[in-house]
């Protein structure tokens, strides 16, 4: 399953819930305001770096918000919309945490 999270971890419980619902083989893509969870140094970092599954972040949303690559938590992979489509196609279904 591909999960997406579109809310900042500081304004919503979506990321926390998503991480709790992830199963082995799942992946999560941070989009829209969800990309703030990709920034290191914040209190939500543990939620992301503690994940045993892959965490991706949508490039255009990071760039729009001024989150440069040196600010990203280690291990997060940045993808574009083509990557978003590929991730959705490669998993069996998509769970959009709103």
């Amino acid at each position: 399953m591909l999960h997406t999270v579109n809310k900042s971890p500081y304004s919503s419980d979506s990321l926390k819930l998503c991480m709790a619902y992830m199963q082995s083989g799942d992946a999560v893509l941070l989009i829209e305001d969800g990309v703030y969870a990709a920034m290191k140094g914040g209190e939500s970092e543990a939620l992301v770096s503690g994940s045993s599954e892959k965490v991706y972040a949508l490039g255009p949303d990071l760039k729009a918000r001024g989150i440069a690559s040196d600010k990203l938590i280690d291990g997060i992979e940045v993808v574009g919309f083509d990557g978003f489509v590929n991730l959705a196609a490669e998993s069996d279904k998509v769970q959009n945490w709103l």
């Binding site: 399953m1 419980d13 998509v94 769970q95 709103l98």
Partner: protein
């Protein structure tokens, strides 16, 4: 349509403050006509949708909570409620509407539709689905 798909409607929003609970329920009811394997999950504030005793008589909003009682007739008989969400909110299953369905395979015996699951168990249910809707 060659196959029946397992469709889970995930509800995370409380009623009345936003429209998602009401309009989400409308999708479930319409969807029942398509004879798919439909179930609902109530997570987070979504559990408030089926809290007992909703009364909008001092409000001008429509009380749509009685509609949940009809779900059984629409063959939506599995209403998964996340235990952690109830615990966080100081609720138990007794605070929820006693939603039931009539089991045609058991002489139309009335059975509870609400299924309490832990987060881990509900994650397993989600993994088995074909399509997930979020309201």
């Amino acid at each position: 349509m060659s196959e029946t798909k397992k469709m889970l409607y995930i509800n995370r929003n409380a009623p009345y403050g936003t429209v998602y609970a009401l309009e989400g329920l409308e999708v479930v009811l319409i969807g029942a006509a398509f004879e798919q394997d439909v179930s609902m999950a109530f997570i987070g504030d979504g559990v408030y949708q089926i809290l007992k005793g909703q009364d909008t008589s001092d409000s001008d909003m429509k009380n749509f909570s009685p509609t949940y009682n009809a779900l059984g007739d629409y063959e939506v008989t599995k209403l998964y409620v996340e235990q952690e969400s109830l615990d966080e909110r100081g609720l138990t299953v007794d605070d929820l509407m006693p939603l039931v369905y009539e089991d045609e395979d058991d002489d139309w015996a009335e059975k509870p539709s609400i299924v309490l699951l832990s987060r881990a168990e509900l994650a397993g249910v989600m993994a088995e689905q074909d399509v997930l809707f979020n309201f």
